[in-house]
């Protein structure tokens, strides 16, 4: 009787402990690999939107900068040969199916180098069209006023607005930075 009362919880606890220990070991083992692959992925998309830069440094941000429905969550400065060539803004805005995350590269003249939609959960075949280079490439080389004039994809107004709001937010952050420098 007594043995029946004690054995089940003891075995369950032991199994829990062993499994947890195995998980801690796996976590310690995979952590450096996970961080390396995350950093590599972030670097690759930053390099894509700001091709001139060879190295990137994340700028400290106290809180997200918002402009309308868009917000900037991270900024990194891109440098080549020690000279600042531009900044990469990680922005997001609410689309049809959740947050649309957009990376914008802006050079020192205030022109967009490239826009890339990195994450979205929009309707495949409709909202997802905004991630196509055929749409985002239109922004390359334009400035704030030019980007605002690019037409939304027909039928995909909502998600197109989210992308544009992200670009607006990037420019808001860009101007704030310019103000601080002066």
């Amino acid at each position: 009787m007594n043995k029946d009362m004690i054995k089940p919880p003891v075995v369950l606890t032991l199994i829990c402990l062993i499994v947890t220990a195995a998980l801690v070991l796996t976590y310690q083992f995979t952590l450096p690999m996970i961080e390396a692959s995350k950093a590599a992925a972030a670097d690759a998309s930053r390099r894509e939107v700001l091709a001139d830069a060879t190295e990137f440094a994340e700028l400290p941000m106290e809180e997200a900068i918002t402009a309308g429905i868009g917000q900037v969550t991270a900024i990194s400065e891109g440098k080549a040969n020690g000279q600042t060539v531009g900044w990469v803004f990680t922005c997001s805005a609410k689309g049809y199916g959740g947050a649309v995350v957009v990376m914008c590269g802006i050079d020192t003249n205030g022109a967009l180098t490239k826009v890339k939609v990195t994450e979205h959960s929009e309707t495949p075949g409709l909202g997802s069209k905004v991630a196509d280079p055929s749409y985002t490439d239109q922004f390359s080389g334009t400035d704030q006023a030019g980007a605002a004039q690019i037409d939304a994809i027909s039928g995909v107004t909502y998600t197109s607005t989210a992308v544009k709001a992200s670009i607006e937010a990037a420019y808001a952050a860009y101007e704030e930075m310019a103000k601080e420098e002066n």
């Binding site: 089940p8 075995v11 369950l12 199994i15 499994v19 998980l23 995350k38 309707t123 495949p124």
Partner: protein
Amino acid sequence: MRNRDILLNGIIKENPTLVLVLGTCPTLAVTTMAVNGLGMGVATMAVLICSNIVISLLKNVIPDKVRIPCYIVVISGFVTIVSLLMEALAPGLYKSLGLFLSLIVVNCIILGRAEMFAAKNTVFHSMLDGIGMGLGFTLALVLIGSIREILGSGTWFGMTVMPSFFTPITIFMLAPGGFFVFGCMIALVNKLRQKNDSLVHNGCMNCPNVHHCHNAQEAQEGGCC
């Protein structure tokens, strides 16, 4: 039972997805692309093989009263290990499977095989069963994923396979398309089984909860878990 029968049982005769209709959630959710189906299938197979082996090893240690919690702990341990490894080695796939990678824990194929097979058979046979069932699940997922990807976006494993005049039928990538393709696949399998005259309805009998389930007696077609 002969080793080959155990292995083939899971792939064809008792295919967990198309015959037993278990683990429907990941089957529908991740099969928008063939490659996601493959990733999900392989991840589930890895967890299934490992948990079958461990549970079969521990079958004399685990007391009957707490066996389900013990199985769940072992399974969720392996699920976390597999998802950590996937995050490290295949971050793209990890991202597209998302939540459903964690939900392998509650995939009834795994708990079902632990209860129905691993707890009663030798370690080697349990491993073979894990491989067979895992392969059956993977095959079904890749098949459904291929159909949905080809019709829904005109590509297969990311390569364009449809001629340029073909307009992708986007609905196949969305929720309704998932239900539709899965339903048609099961109907096809039913048709083939009728021809071979080996119609065995055992959906619910493979469910880990069959002993508690009032539904098992009436639900002939199975499918609850």
